[in-house]
Subunit: 447 residues, 4 copies
């Protein structure tokens, strides 16, 4: 395979960047250069040192050279692949995203994708991604771009808005967790060891973090039929407040039992294919109160923890064993290899709708399965979910489109259209407007 | 013109039936027979006597013969026109439609179109309209059918579901009131006497009671531009609680200042084209509480008044002067004449979507302008409203379609999909389910 | 009504210009200024003198002032209405349009709309109309534009391509003739005097000169059913060569019996709504030879006659009685009045597809019914014709779109795609290419 | 893997059946039963003997049991896979398909897919496939069905018309040949050994035998760009009559140089992805005469050879070495294994359009890439070809749809709509009708 030149935008990050570098070191088929770029130049430079340790620890020295660049243009020059994983604005700005709406009774379990928090975050992120796209158009228009940043859909959409010919996709592991959940169930249903998630074939449709499984098989068995049988169990939806309390005590923010995912299957006919904490944010019924949310075993990630974690990540000193690569569940390096001509890959991708999601307009960024081949990604047609699911997804996608249009036009009145239309926005119009004005003030980028 | 044979289903009613008969007596161009049919045969028979007085008072004796029929098939035989204006189930059932959801904090200002009340009413009405359609297919497949019954969209949709070749339309005067409102404004803006509403040309799009004006002109003046100037007035949306209190005291349930209609223009870019009491029911922001609603000068019609009014209507004795016709604002007779070959008519109609509303699927019942000609109705393409409006209307139309599908399939689990998806349904899922089950019990037809 | 300022582009013409001025003089409701503009300035100036005689003869002096302008920008300044009726390139260029393809066995009865001749004419016309559009955008962007020039569809499309916000429509009287034909049949079927064509209601769909009637009524009678009965007559399609010979002798180029129009009804299920000489050019089956064409009573207009007629028109001296106005059948002035706020008009129009023709892409210029109101034109949804008709119309519309794209891009290789795809192009590929290259050479504008 | 029960309808055939059985014997992963069914029971029984020899020669005895059945229902009972490869009507009927239209100057190089011959063949085949579908619905509704019969599109469409839930696909090797052609070119361009066709990734769109490649890569190289360079060679399209003559002499009916496929690339912007003899039949430009066709090096298969070949196939005695399996290029067995849970397969398939071909209506049978997985086939979105290609394909697909509708309705007048609309039908209307009536008479099934 040819040498890659990979630019990581947000290369100063301590999570995705490190993980990606480890996967790169682990994979034996590629070689080339990695350029770390970060608005926080020092963070990027620090990660160069970590990267070199990763290469050393994994015996990959020589295969990949790692450097940093202060200027975006220089970082992009000659690149074949760009990874984007940034925090749009400082962690401090998320305080406004999350805590202000809480004052008005609007709770968010994540707040980075949808709802008032997601919209404010998008307002910060979209201009950055439009700029990235313009720089890519100038410096490496043929490069492939993988976005990991949330709000995934809108950041990926902003890349396409800024450079329509961009070869970009958005990647997210939430669907993998749904496959893991199904693999767990397979083990129970068929008394077999838990299969690898890739053995669970799913048909997918929707938008990132609000994706749905309409069909799932393992070894030819119809898993949806099995799940529907499970739904007959009168105890399936029993109150899980006790579990939630334990999770709170243990700071297990990301754990869930897919009860909300299953609730969509019960009430609307398709299985939610993201963590419950994401799914809950797209509809008004689950985040009524922490008590209500706890009934499903789901807890909210507190802002204070995010703040603490951000500080810890910055201060983090990695041990060698933390830098030692095993095969992670992330697919970034596999995708890179497939695009470079290695084995093709069928996986869930976020791409402009060419028709693969029949009930959304062309051009919207949608999540469904696709085939990744040498220098080409082709979406696979998704089966249609029940109308009730189409309706919910379309509503969410429309709000995203309004947000994109408003932010690109710099029109905060139009942005209020989106804000008011969000499914979580069940305030009176005047309270909603008050919250909106306060959030505009508190959640804006200040450079 | 040829003799008409008109069947009024719900011919025992004391409002529409009487009004239609007066319009018929007033119009000099038509003649024929009117057959009153009502599930309550006595009410129909009583109205025959009233009808004859109407013909006498208006000098129309001889032009129209009025009879009643006990059997629907006989009533329909040979008909050229059918008017349907019924109450789907007794007034008592509306108690459940309105009062149960109120216990859960879901207020409805009308409750006959959308929201929990509208869905339960639709559940009673749809089977009746499917039956009507089947009878029409058998007895007078070539007849035109005008439906006035709410939920307008779903009753008209049920006619088409029951008999796909039915020549049916739904008629509603709410848009007329929007034209009246604009005529009033024209008078103020241009210092002219208030023009007739027909002088106000509007471009319309949406579904019944949730229709929007995207363009309006009078004598070539762009009225939307004028309204947008009005929106600059900082006092336009001042609190109208005092007005609302007066309206409550005066039992003026139907009065409004179109402030919610204007609020849609302000926030979403198109003017609501129905009374505020209807518009408010399609979104979660206005019916939060009576206090909130009163701020817009809008009040809810109490169930007790409806009960009292139903009793009064039944007991009503008309004076001769009450039966004397003037030109009313209703268009039923004009439509009948246009279909019979009289002057063609351009007006708002509820018809299956052939594409006139670009953002809704084909086949859905939509409200837009149309041309009514001899034995033919052709919809006029509606201009596209902003995406925010498209999104709200599509959401509402999807819930209606789910309701139709569920009721036709007799599938109350599917109906719960619709119920939960309604924009007013901002309860937790479990509370929503509890309400749904109680309403199923309280709001069903019992024959 | 307000004063109009009307610019006639092609104001030196001796046919449409004179007719339009007569209609203007006849109509009592309008007043203002007419500016004649023509690339041939002398022709425009000559027509000013004729125009003044028209106003005098019809007692309209004072209502309309007529002048000419040498410069297009000046002619357009302040205009409220623009009429375009030009000859794209000299009559001499039509020699190539018609006679070259004849050498290859491709006969055309008109050659101004479709086929090799129509494509070459479009290649000359499109850049002119793009220029007109740009000038209108600069000088009078609010003016309405009525195009009468062929190829109607592509000239109107070029206006929209050059200035997307242009308020333009294309008008053509071919559908009127179909109404006249039906009126004639009504007279025979019902033994009544021939009704006015406006009494014949038609539902229309297609593109200019290849439009189809899917429904037609007169006084509630289904005329399509009657026509289908006529089709049972075994002599209906009897050979009309003798009639054709008479027409040839009498130079009655435009006469026809609508046998080809009826042939579409027989074979494909919808009635052609243009003269047979136009309809025949869109399909390969009728213009195989003059002998074949004569069987339908249709004759081709020879180029020599066109040349002679052009010379005669230029030399024409009008008598006063020729300038005296009666109500003509053209609707230009009626449309102008409707747009100015006079009585609204329902008629056939050529406008961008918003969905009124369901089987063609949005944006294509289509012909169907529309409502013309004060400063607004709204298309009426057309009923769908049988698939066979949809297929033929779509094929023709696609070739037009390719032609537009190719000429705008100045790409003659792409234009060859269109040329080869034309239904009349049944030559071998190499012969087709030879003809194309020769026509490019012979049919181009030379300024 | 589970045991398969495979029914071959047309199991008496000597080409596909034998090849499929050899592939089955060659593949080591499957086992089960093969049931041969043929309207000609004796042919099926004879093939049982051949089948057993195949199993013996290939050491596959024990893995597959082969039997025959006289009754279709019995043959289908319990099946997991059905292969259909039949001759719809005797070879003798093809005489009418091909020779009658030749009398009228309409030449066909194959005559089994499109054109007058294809339409008449479809008229015979469609009712048979509707019957097969009904039997499958009754006897093995869960079985997968692979159709190899021509007209591929219409036979596969008829299966879906007869049993909408059928799990069917159509398979054809023409695209493989295009891949082979590209592999050959790759070898020349890059001076490498000819790669396996599976190394050539193509993006595909269209309908069977009229499919187009819009993108092709090998090892990341853009092969379309290379082909466009080839098109610059002024000798590429030099007259190949001499080659054609040699092919005629050698009875090499199926050989071609893809010059017509390349001609589509030159003139319309996408590469034809079927043999020239198929592509030529969908447009009027190549089959003008044998002389014209020979210029492209293409020859027509004469009817006399077909007759002779049919007799030879019936009389054929296989030697052991002819029955020895190697890996053939057909994919039937690979598809079966993929559906049973073996390695998934990305290949070209004929399936109902869910949107994978954006410019054709939903439901039409289209050819594009798809992913075949355990019990599931998902189409891959095809990239859009230039409008000129969309237009040609849509035209052909519309004619197919009209044919399907007409044959299902038993309406030969509607079938004439299709017949006249076929791109090869460049006769006058009256000659076309005469030919149609003669073909109806000569080409019908007589049982």
């Amino acid at each position: 395979m040819k040498a890659e030149r990979i630019c990581i935008i947000g290369g100063g990050g301590r999570l995705w960047t490190i993980q990606f570098l480890k996967d790169l070191a682990y994979n034996r088929d590629t070689h080339g250069t990695v350029v770390l770029y970060d608005r926080d130049g020092e963070a990027a430079r620090n990660n160069v040192a970590v990267a070199r340790r990763i290469m050393a620890v994994n015996g990959a020295v020589g295969r990949f050279t790692v450097t940093s660049e202060e200027e975006l243009g220089k970082a992009l020059d000659g690149c074949t692949l760009i990874i984007i994983s940034i925090e749009p604005g400082s962690t401090e700005l998320r305080r406004g995203d999350l805590l202000l709406s809480e004052e008005y009774g609007i709770l968010q379990s994540v707040g980075d994708t949808t709802g008032p928090g997601g919209i404010m975050r998008a307002r910060r992120a979209i201009p950055l991604f439009v700029e990235f796209a313009a720089a890519i158009a100038r410096h490496c228009p043929e490069a492939w771009v993988i976005n990991y940043t949330n709000p995934m859909t809108l950041c990926t959409a902003a890349l396409h808005a800024g450079f329509p010919a961009v070869k970009a996709l958005g990647c997210c592991h939430e669907v993998f967790h749904t496959q893991d959940f199904l693999a767990e169930r397979v083990s129970a249903w068929f008394s077999v060891p838990r299969p690898d998630r890739r053995q669970i074939t799913v048909d997918l449709t929707g938008i990132n973090h609000f994706t749905f499984v309409t069909a799932a098989t393992w070894e030819g068995h119809d898993l949806m039929a099995r799940l529907r049988e499970d739904l007959q169990d009168p105890h399936l939806f029993d109150d899980r407040t006790a579990v939630a309390k334990k999770r709170l005590a243990g700071e297990q923010w990301f754990d869930c039992d897919q009860l909300i995912a299953l609730s969509f299957l019960r009430d609307f006919g398709a299985l939610g294919a993201a963590g419950d904490r994401h799914l809950a944010e797209f509809v008004p019924w689950y985040l009524q109160s922490d008590e209500e949310l706890h009934r499903y075993g789901v807890i909210r990630t507190p802002y204070s923890w995010r703040e603490r974690q951000a500080a810890e990540k910055r201060a983090k000193v990695f041990t060698d064993s933390e830098l030692k690569a095993e095969k992670s569940d992330e697919e970034g390096v596999d995708i890179m290899c497939a695009l470079a001509g290695g084995p093709s890959l069928r996986t869930n991708i976020n791409r402009p709708n060419e028709g693969q999601v029949s009930y959304l307009p062309k051009g919207r960024i949608v999540e469904s399965n696709g085939v990744i081949m040498r220098d080409s990604i082709r979406p696979i047609m998704a089966g249609d979910p029940p109308l009730a699911i189409q309706n919910l997804v379309r509503h969410a996608s429309d709000v995203q489109q309004m947000t994109l249009d408003a932010v690109r036009a710099g029109d905060d009145e139009l942005l209020f259209s989106a804000f008011l239309s969000d499914p979580l926005m069940t305030l009176s119009r005047s309270r909603a407007r008050e919250l909106f004005d306060r959030m505009l003030d508190a959640c804006s980028l200040k450079y």
